[in-house]
Amino acid sequence: MATHLVPKPALVAVAGRAFGDAHPESPLAVAGLTVSYGDKPVLFSVDYAVPPGAMVAVVGPNGAGKSTFIKAALGIVPRVSGEITVYGRPLAEGLERIAYVPQRASVDWDFPATVLDVVVMGLYREIGLLRFAGRRHRERAMACLERVGMAAFAHRQIGQLSGGQQQRVFLARALAQNADLTIMDEPFAGVDAATERAIVEVLKALKAEGRTIVCVHHDLATVPLYFDHVLLLNVRKIADGPVAAAFTPAALQETYGGRLTTAQIDEAAAAPAASAS
């Protein structure tokens, strides 16, 4: 009757280090990540390892845990459970290899800072304790501003910028960090088309340098266009992998089920992928 009907005995690993050994090249790997507010989980038991050198879109319905996933993975919000490693090392050690670009709305833009001031923040670790930013640092910051096309605004007060300009400044700050992994939370929300193109160009250039990008993304239509990997979240991980394999109507149905019409899902899944570049 029976032995094949009974689950096999569990394998056990002894310590968190073992999880790091399982994914040594992944810029960010999580296992069993669970986050809850009160007693309803917002994120439950998510296992995911970011492929090195990939450009990943994190998609899912609103309120289904996309931003929470990022913040929990970076230790910004507390988690109920979950192991996290960065290039196989514990989070605390690996954090300096990650650049995080939060949502624009999370900041008070009436703060007394210029565009250049904000970008220089990205050089914090390099400037060092008890020191001030020098000419060298300011030049580096200017170079980053030029990459995003905002060099002319260097001395503008940040409250005077449009949404798209603010997003570019945040991206410049991330560039200044010279990080191996850049994580952006809804970078294209509420920005004009020109800014969107500019940001995508910068991200593609980063990828060409061998760096990894992860974006929480809100626009399904552009996923195949901009990204080569996708992670579908709706409290749990629904699917992940290369866009061609994972970004299917079935997976989208399960992720967004009920919140999008079938037509929208089919359209999204059928969108032409970007030509190899």
């Binding site: 009907l5 009974v6 689950p7 096999k8 005995p9 569990a10 394998l11 056990v12 690993a13 310590a15 968190g16 073992a18 999880f19 399982a22 296992a31 069993g32 669970t34 809850s36 007693d39 309803k40 989980p41 439950f44 038991s45 109920v80 459970s81 979950g82 192991e83 009436d110 409290v235 749990r236 149905q253 399960e254 089920g257 009920g258 919140r259």
Partner: protein, 408 residues
Amino acid sequence: MDLFLSALLLQAGYNTAVVSIGAALLGAGAGAIGSFVLLRKRSLVSDAVSHATLPGLALAFILMALVTGDGRHLVGLLVGAAASAGLGLVAVEWVARRTRLPEDAAIGAVLSVFFGLGIVLLTVIQSLDTGRQAGIAAYLVGSTAGMLKSEAETIAVASFLVALAVFVLRRPFVLVAFDPEYAAARGIDVRRTDLAMMGLMLAVTVIGLKVAGLVLIVALTIIPPVAARFWTNRPEPMVVIAAAIGAFSGYAGAAISSTGPGLPTGSVIVLVAFAVFLASLVVSPQRGAAAMAFAQLAFRRRVHARQGLLALAHGEPIYDGLTLRVLRRAGYIRRDGVATLAGRAAAAAASREEAIWSLYRRLNPVDAANADHQGLVPLEEALPPDVVADLERRLRGETGLTAAEAAR
């Protein structure tokens, strides 16, 4: 002790009795209006309001002293206090709304500047009129010792009127505090209601000055409502409970304060209220600290157990030490990690539930989103039995296996 008991039982003299009742009514009124202000998130504006009473108090004193020779008429003083407090309130709104400064800066600025001006006027009084001005100092920390019978009665009556006004206006207050947009859609003038709310807050503050002092009257409008918050989630019960806590604090505090010197009334009342707050914080079954900590731990254990059982069922490695401990303690795995019989059964059950939920999510995504607690709530509690039976049938029908078998 005897003094305290007799004060508590209203047998320590007419004055003390009236003061105790007045303090109780004051506490009730403060607790009631304070609840709405708390819900409206304007609690600290009352701090500015109370400190802004000082210049008005001083000016009223000076004017009355010049005209009648004695500046200490309670009603006149309170009118002056109300006027400058009202000015302070307007100033806070104006600074917060018309400049880039945040509301807390506006509150702090008005609070301290008006108070500073009040201190200047106090020293003017000192130089004009020696000896009589000691009465004003009592308004800083409150003192019911030597309170006149008429004053105590005035306070009692005024407090009662405030409590009455809160009762009369409770409907619009509740609606505006909960959801101003909905209230506006229902035809309620939100601006006027807010004005009435802050006006009553101002009235309570001014009335309570003599009893609690201007620094501490704020406490009576904040502590009882916050304490009440631990006992209920709904606004009407909260107001009632806050009023009750405020009344109790006022009554007991005034009684204790009358038993001896060196027991300033305001401080004692506030400390009684704080004691009630602490008790509520710890003890309350719904939101008290003990209950919440317990619930948190239990939740954490449930999450780890669930994740562990699912990993067990799918033969996946478990990295988290806490998960392993939870499984071990529940008797699901042995020390060496091998699943026990109970563990295998539990894992199979978890797996079956997962399959059922997965099917339910696919068929009814909207309903599933509301009901699905990720397996942390037992299936029987989340879904009605006929739904479960139907899903089981479908699984079996689709594959010819039971749900448990299909899960593998």
